[in-house]
């Protein structure tokens, strides 16, 4: 009886608790608190303005098709970059991995025999199939990611240094393998399927009687699917939870039994795989493989993720943010072009948005604390 008297009245306690709970956890409150929401708002404002300013060129189905395709390559890379950034790491090698994967795909599809490959490889048919190009491309990407991941997670070298080294080494490998050529003379039957992956639209569903209200490029649709997948993985899987834990406090993650090294390795492999996939799409779209593909794309991919709310200090980032960040960069580019601004000014605007994104992040951080 005496202990009961010491307690606060139960109803009052419950009501205060539940009111606070509701205030803090409404869905709207959470959405408004994210950076990707505000980037989406900025994107909508720019798009609305351009639709009013250039109704005949910006607000067309064609332009929509082109913009959404153009940012998809960077978008896919930014998606792969996001888990790496959440762990507090960075991957500067993705642009070079794109170049390498482009060359690997190109070499598989090439009509002419390759000097440095054995005869059985040059003579066989299956070694030049479109699916072989996809498989070899992904394998090359995964291998580069494995090198990054082992050096970073198991040897313990800093991600910045390792991936900076790989940026240089992998690009060089691409140039050597390509023998400094641009590869475009592909076997027509296999190349047709390969080119459809990156160059086609509506994922080929038209054939099955599924029609989209407006045509959408395959790269864009693939990116949307990957965004949903990554979003689910980050939110719902133990792996995603561990990615965030490592970025929040790596030591703590380790002490609580998270396999930090394995999770980090997997993040780098995934990042390189996404760059490889972006390269496959890009080669398919352009119909040629160039060893300079992806040069400086690493910066655009990192910028996309950061603009979308990923924190370079680790612990924060979303799949949707990566998508919306890359969309913003390309819509700004497209808008400046259409507004007749000299294209040399594009970098200035992209740079300003990166810095603005970090300022915004800082302001939100202050309010939170």
């Amino acid at each position: 009886m005496t202990t009961d008297a010491a307690k606060p009245p139960p109803q009052a306690n419950v009501s205060i608790e539940s009111v606070l709970e509701v205030q803090q956890h409404t869905v709207w409150h959470r959405i408004v608190a994210t950076q990707s929401f505000w980037v989406a708002v900025a994107l909508a404002i720019i798009s609305l303005f351009m639709s009013w300013y250039q109704p005949d060129s910006f607000a067309t189905s064609d332009n929509f098709f082109n913009i959404t395709r153009n940012f998809s390559f960077i978008g896919v890379m930014a998606l792969g970059m996001t888990p790496v950034i959440i762990t507090g790491g960075i991957d500067l090698s993705v642009g070079s991995v794109m170049g390498l994967v482009a060359i690997v795909c190109g070499l598989v599809l090439l009509k002419q025999p390759i000097d440095y490959m054995p005869d059985w490889w040059n003579d066989a048919a299956w070694t030049h199939a479109w699916w072989m190009a996809v498989l070899m491309g992904l394998a090359a990407g995964a291998l580069m990611g494995l090198v990054n991941g082992v050096l970073i997670a198991y040897v313990g070298l800093p991600p910045f240094v390792v991936t900076l080294g790989m940026l240089s080494a992998v690009r060089s490998l691409a140039v050597v393998l390509s023998e400094s050529r641009m590869l475009y003379d592909f076997r027509p039957d296999q190349a047709a399927t390969f080119k459809f992956i990156g160059g086609g639209d509506n994922l080929g569903l038209d054939r099955f009687g599924v029609h989209f209200p407006i045509p959408l490029s395959n790269p864009f649709l693939f990116m949307v699917i990957l965004t949903l997948l990554l979003g689910l993985v980050l939110k719902m899987s133990p792996w995603g939870r561990h990615i965030f834990a490592i970025g929040g406090n790596e030591q703590a993650a380790n002490l609580t039994g998270v396999n930090v090294r394995r999770v980090k390795l997997q993040a780098y492999v995934l990042c390189s795989l996404s760059a490889a996939f972006a390269a496959i799409l890009s080669v398919g779209w352009s119909g040629s493989a160039n060893n300079s593909l992806g040069q400086s794309y690493e910066l655009l991919a990192i910028a996309s993720a950061v603009i979308g709310g990923a924190n370079l200090m680790g612990g924060e980032g979303t799949a949707f943010g990566a998508l919306i960040g890359s969309a913003l960069i390309f819509v700004i580019r497209n808008s400046l072009l259409m507004a007749g601004v000299d294209s040399n000014w594009q970098g200035m605007f992209v740079g300003a948005f990166i810095i603005l994104a970090v300022v915004l992040e800082r302001l939100r951080g202050k309010r939170r604390d």
Binding site: E21, R241, A245, N249, L255, T256
Partner: protein
């Protein structure tokens, strides 16, 4: 039978003898205050018991069984839980996520197993209630007070069938009111039948909750006596070396 037994445990780092022939027995439901100056070997002792590194010599027995840990996870499987000095929490995750870090509740089957956020929040909420802490499972740890953070770190130890909890300076760097909260948490763990080793620099805390106090100096145990038969003055003397041994 004691739940924890150390028999002449030593730990050397090269020429440095961090632990020298330390014996210790601890019963269930007993709180041992572990005191000593900086570098006396308190943290090393806890880390050896927790499986962070194996002892150079000596034997560790848990529940009468001789154990050889190589990783903290192995110690945890034997019922040894640790609350680290920096609490080992991830600021960017919720309280519930921190409690279940590394042993998440999952749903689904095979490779398609996803996090059961609801179940974890509910269970974490129950644990906080059990610990009489006002921590809300869905709040981010970043927004929490020192006392609430302690509750999160301690709630973690309640997940498994822990038999002992090792606490490294749980009352350092928190406010007076929060210290009282943490001491209450320790008493509740003791009442639940756990053995507790409490490393602390704070004499009043040790005298408030501990049943026994053990003093270390330069890697050696210099005293181990019931709290009732000693005084803060004597313990201070033992820590500094003014009193040689007791």
């Amino acid at each position: 039978m004691p739940i924890l037994e150390l028999r002449s445990v030593s730990k050397h780092f090269g020429a440095i003898h961090a632990l020298n022939e330390v014996d210790l027995e601890l019963e269930s439901g007993e709180v041992l205050g572990l005191m000593g100056d900086n570098g006396a070997g308190k943290s090393t002792l806890v880390k050896v018991i927790a499986g962070n590194y194996p002892p150079t010599h000596g034997e560790i027995r848990i529940g009468g069984e001789s154990v050889h840990f190589h990783r903290p996870v192995e110690a945890r499987e034997k019922g040894v839980e640790v609350v680290y000095q920096d609490l080992a929490l991830c600021d960017n995750l919720s309280a519930a996520a921190n409690v279940f870090l590394g042993r998440e509740i999952k749903r689904g089957a095979g490779p398609l197993r996803w996090l059961d956020h609801k179940a974890m929040a509910r269970r974490a909420g129950d644990l906080f209630k059990e610990l009489k802490s006002e921590t809300r499972p869905r709040d981010l740890v970043r927004q929490m007070s020192g006392g609430q953070r302690q509750a999160v770190a301690i709630a973690r130890t309640r997940l498994s069938k822990a038999r002992m909890v090792l606490m490294d300076e749980p009352t350092a760097a928190i406010s007076v009111r929060q210290v009282a909260e943490v001491l209450d948490l320790i008493r509740r763990l003791r009442d639940a039948g756990l053995a507790i080793i409490l490393i602390s620099h704070r004499m009043p805390d040790v005298f408030a909750v501990a049943d026994r106090v053990m003093v270390m100096r330069r890697g050696r145990k210099v005293a181990d006596k019931p709290i009732k038969s000693t005084t803060p003055e004597e313990v201070t003397g033992l820590i500094t070396g003014a009193i040689h041994a007791a």
